[in-house]
Amino acid sequence: MAVSTIYSTQALNSTHFLTSSPSSSSKQVFFYRRQTNRRFNTIITCAAQQTVVIGLAADSGCGKSTFMRRLTSVFGGAAEPPKGGNPDSNTLISDMTTVICLDDYHSLDRTGRKEKGVTALDPRANDFDLMYEQVKALKSGIAVEKPIYNHVTGLLDAPELIQPPKILVIEGLHPMFDERVRELLDFSIYLDISNEVKFAWKIQRDMAERGHSLESIKASIEARKPDFDAFIDPQKQYADAVIEVLPTQLIPDDNEGKVLRVRLIMKEGVKYFSPVYLFDEGSTISWIPCGRKLTCSYPGIKFNYQPDSYFDNEVSVVEMDGQFDRLDELIYVESHLSNLSTKFYGEVTQQMLKHADFPGSNNGTGLFQTIVGLKIRDLYEQLIANKANAPTEAAKA
C-alpha cells in the first residue's frame, strides 16, 4: 500500500531539480528551486509498501504445514507453491502472504555439512548475512532472488524470484537467531514441543516407514538434542508468543501423547498485540467448562489463565488441557475467551472446522495456532492503518 501526495509545480525548468533520497523504505523526493535569494524545499514522502514480517521458529524444517495453512487461511485463500517453478521449492504463496523456509539460507548443502561435521541446526550451516539482506529487501518492497534448498537432493538449487508480499512469514530453525533479523520481525512465534510429545509425534510420523524403528527414532532425537538445546531453544526468550506443547495432566501416566496440554505464552507490552485472556485480565483463573451446561467425554477439558514471568519478560499464559469432542464445546469455549481479535462470533470455531482434518484440530494446538493467526491479522491491520495515517510531510523552508 503506497501513500503519497503529489504536489505539482507550475513549471519544471532548469532552476528546479530533483534528487531522491537513498533510503529504501521511504522514498523522498526533494524539489529545489533557486530563486534569487530564496530557496524552496518541498519534500514529498512516499511510504512504499511496508511488508509485515512474521517469524516462526520450530524444529523439523518447514513442515509446519498445518500452522502455515491455518495462518494463511485466516487471511483467505490457500497457500500454494509458486506455479511453474522448482517443484521442490519450499515457498508457499497465497493472496496476502508468502511463506519462506529458512532452510533456503543454508550455506552448506548436505554434503558440505557432512564434510564440516555440522548439523543443519548449527548456525555455521546458515548464511545469516544473506537472510538479513533479503528479508530487509522484501520488507522494503524489493523483490529478491532467493536460493532454494532442495530437501530431496540435499543440494542448493537455482534461486527463485520472490516478490514482496503484504505479509512475509519466515519459518524455520533460526528466525530469531540473528539479532539483525530479529529487529525486522513485527511478530515472532516459537513452537516449543516437549520431548515426550516430540517423541510421540515422530513415532506417528515415521513408524510407517520401513527404515525406521522405535530405536532409530529415539536415537535421532537424542543425537540432535545437544545442537537443538544450544542453538534453537534459546530463541524462545525472544518470541512474542510461545506455543508450548506438553503431555496432558488429565490422564495419570499417559504416555501416548494423544491428549495434549498446550500453553499459549504471550508477551505483554508488544505493540499491536493484545494477549488473549479468560474472564478477567491479569487475574489467575482455573476453568473446567464441562459440567451442567456442557457435557464432555473423557478426559474433558481444563483451562488455566494467569500472569507469569518468562525469561525476565512479563507474560500472560492461557492453557488448555484436553480435547474438543463436539462443535458446541468449541463454541462454548470460544465465547468465554476474550481479546480473540475475531471479526464475528464463532470465527475461531469456523477456522478450526475449515482445517478439521489437520492434526491438532481438536485440541489446544489447533486452537492456539488459529488464535495466533487472528492476532497476526489484527496486528497487520493495525500496522497498515497506522501507516495510512502517517502524514505525508511537506516542509517549506
Binding site: H151, E209, H212, R326, G360
Partner: protein, 135 residues
C-alpha cells in the same frame, strides 16, 4: 476474512475440485464432530489419496523412503564407534531431514491434494515424469 464469511455460517470444509476419500491417520484428529460434516456427498469422482498422481512424484516418494532406510543404517553404523561424535550427530540429522521431507510429501498429497509436479506437468504433459501413475 470474506472467504470464511462466505460460507454463511455453514461449517463446511471448502471442497477442492478433486474430492478425496482418505484414511484418517492414527492421530488425535478423530472425533464425531468432524465426521458428521463429511457425510456430504462430494461428487462422483473418488480419488484415493496418498498415492501420487504423476510418475515423477511416485518416484520421489520411493526415493525418499529408500534414503530413509539407507541413512538409518548409515547412522547406526557410524554411531557404533562413538555416539557423541560429530559424524554421528550429522548422520542422524540427515535421517531427520529426509524423514521430514518424506512426511511433508505425504501431507501434501494426502491432506492438501497438491502434487508438487502439478504445475510443471500442466506445462509439460509429455515428459516421462508427468505420466499419470496407474496403480
Amino acid at each position: 476474512m470474506s472467504a470464511t464469511a462466505s460460507h454463511g455460517g455453514v461449517m463446511m470444509l471448502p471442497s477442492p475440485s478433486r474430492p478425496l476419500q482418505h484414511q484418517r491417520p492414527p492421530t488425535v484428529t478423530g472425533s464425531d464432530m468432524f465426521r458428521v460434516r463429511r457425510k456430504e456427498p462430494r461428487g462422483l469422482r473418488l480419488v484415493v489419496a496418498a498415492t501420487a498422481k504423476y510418475k515423477g512424484t511416485k518416484m520421489r516418494e520411493e526415493k525418499l523412503s529408500e534414503m530413509i532406510e539407507e541413512k538409518v543404517k548409515e547412522a547406526t553404523e557410524v554411531c557404533e564407534a562413538d555416539v557423541r561424535s560429530e559424524e554421528c550427530k550429522v548422520a542422524w540429522d540427515e535421517v531427520e531431514e529426509v524423514s521430514q521431507a518424506r512426511a511433508d510429501l505425504r501431507i501434501k498429497l494426502k491432506f492438501l491434494n497438491q502434487d508438487p509436479l502439478e504445475s510443471f506437468c500442466q506445462e509439460n504433459p509429455e515428459t516421462d515424469e508427468c505420466r499419470i501413475y496407474e496403480d
